[in-house]
């Protein structure tokens, strides 16, 4: 492992025969960093987790605090839970904006909106209230991503949305036009992880305690997709794309929809974002919703120190050996290698792994 890449990475090996993908393998070198927390005190863990996972450090830190408190028999008070939910959502918005304003433009050959992103990121992270956060999002959505007020964009019917997609100079429309050639891979076949609360995971805690589950999690024995498409799949602007099998476009649109809804103050319930449950003696479990999907932390205390720590992260669901990426990449059929590569990279980015990744094509 590269000493400057302790995060490891993902390699996607696509076997090809005459432009058709005939097999997909995900090779992961991602370490199970949670194992390092064994033996630490709750205070040490609460300080170390946001540092270890600094890309989504707020969500990871909240999950750690909530799980540790639950293990000690303390459930979050309403005020604390609301505060956590707000900070988690602000971090998620910054992650969505990074994805839309820095990552996708690069894939599509457009200019990255670095200056605009830096300004909006600062405002979102500094926001003290949901209202401040919504105002920051409304500004960037109207000026750069949508080109019109978020509420107006969300209220469009299919015809108006199609016209916006074809003609608008806003970045969101430009990205969707660029995806016109890479959006569909011929049907979405992985079911979504359903809406859950922490208590739903308590029955699964024996599985969560095993490294095998943490690296390849399943729900009722099946891999599931988690993340923004699972959350927004029923929205009127998203569901037709999903039904048509345009998974990449559906995920990108779902991100725009989610940000627009937050800009309009549609943030859901506090418990949608974070909650916790006690699971047995001295054990606690927290569920936090992040930009990339559901994050689970489970901790077992032993004599005032951490005896076991397990984390189930969203990337492990979406890049499961039989999960969404593998199934959708397995349906790619293109005229040449370059087009296969482009579609596979777009598919990976739409699922947004939180580590470096590469796509390797192997000819039969």
């Amino acid at each position: 492992m590269n000493p400057l890449s302790p995060a490891g990475g993902l390699t996607f090996r696509l076997r090809l025969q005459r432009g058709c993908v005939t097999g997909v393998e995900v090779v992961s070198t991602r370490p199970q960093a949670a194992l390092l927390l064994k033996g630490k005190t709750p205070e040490q863990a609460a300080q170390l987790v946001p540092l270890l996972f600094s890309l989504c450090g707020v969500a990871q830190g909240v999950a750690a605090q909530a799980a540790l408190q639950a293990a000690q028999g303390r459930m979050p008070e309403a005020e604390q839970q609301a505060c956590w939910a707000g900070t988690v959502r602000r971090e998620a918005s910054v992650e969505h904006l990074w994805h839309l304003m820095l990552d996708w433009p690069q894939i599509c050959g457009l200019s990255r909106l670095e200056k605009e992103y830096a300004c909006c990121r600062h405002k979102c992270l500094q926001a003290q209230t949901d209202r401040d956060h919504a105002a920051a999002l409304e500004t960037i959505m109207a000026s750069e991503l949508l080109g019109l007020p978020a509420a107006e964009w969300l209220a469009q019917d299919r015809r108006a949305w199609a016209a916006w997609r074809e003609d608008s100079p806003a970045l969101g429309a430009k990205l969707l036009r660029c995806l016109g050639g890479v959006g569909g891979v011929g049907g979405l076949t992985t079911a979504y992880l359903p809406y859950t609360i922490a208590a739903d995971w308590v029955d699964m805690e024996q599985a969560i305690r095993t490294p095998a589950f943490c690296s390849a999690p399943t729900w009722r024995g099946e891999p599931r997709e988690t993340g923004v498409l699972a959350r927004q799949c029923e929205h009127a602007l998203v569901s037709p794309l999903r039904a048509a099998g345009f998974g990449i476009e559906a995920r990108l649109t779902a991100r725009l929809v989610e940000l627009a809804r937050w800009a309009c103050g549609e943030v859901g319930q506090v418990s949608d974002w974070v909650d916790a449950a006690q699971c047995g003696q001295d054990a606690g479990l927290a569920r936090v919703e992040t930009a990339r999907g559901v994050l689970i932390h489970r901790v077992q205390m032993e004599n005032d120190a951490i005896g076991e720590y397990a984390i189930v992260a969203p990337t492990e669901w979406n890049f499961h050996p039989h999960g969404t990426f593998v199934r959708e990449a397995g349906r790619i059929a293109e005229a040449d290698d370059a087009a296969v590569l482009r579609k596979a990279q777009g598919l990976a980015l739409s699922l947004d792994p939180c580590v470096a990744y590469e796509v390797v094509l192997e000819h039969a």
Binding site: P3, L4, L51, S54, L55, Y117, A118, I311, A356
Partner: protein, 78 residues
Amino acid sequence: MCLAIPMQIVEINGFNARCTAKGVSREVSLFLLQGEPMEAGDFVMVHTGYAIQKITGHEARSAWELYDEMLAAVEKRE
């Protein structure tokens, strides 16, 4: 797991900085942290070429201690 890398700033040139960690040098963009006072010797968390957070030297050392444990565990397995 969304790990970012703690690095120390050696030199700043506009919005770019030369940073080091473990004897390896990288060019890092400070663009996302504009407005935060930054100077040579400071520590930042780096993700895909961008500094995303300023941290203390103590935090950087704590993170690297954990990363070193992780790398040692991986090397032992290999």
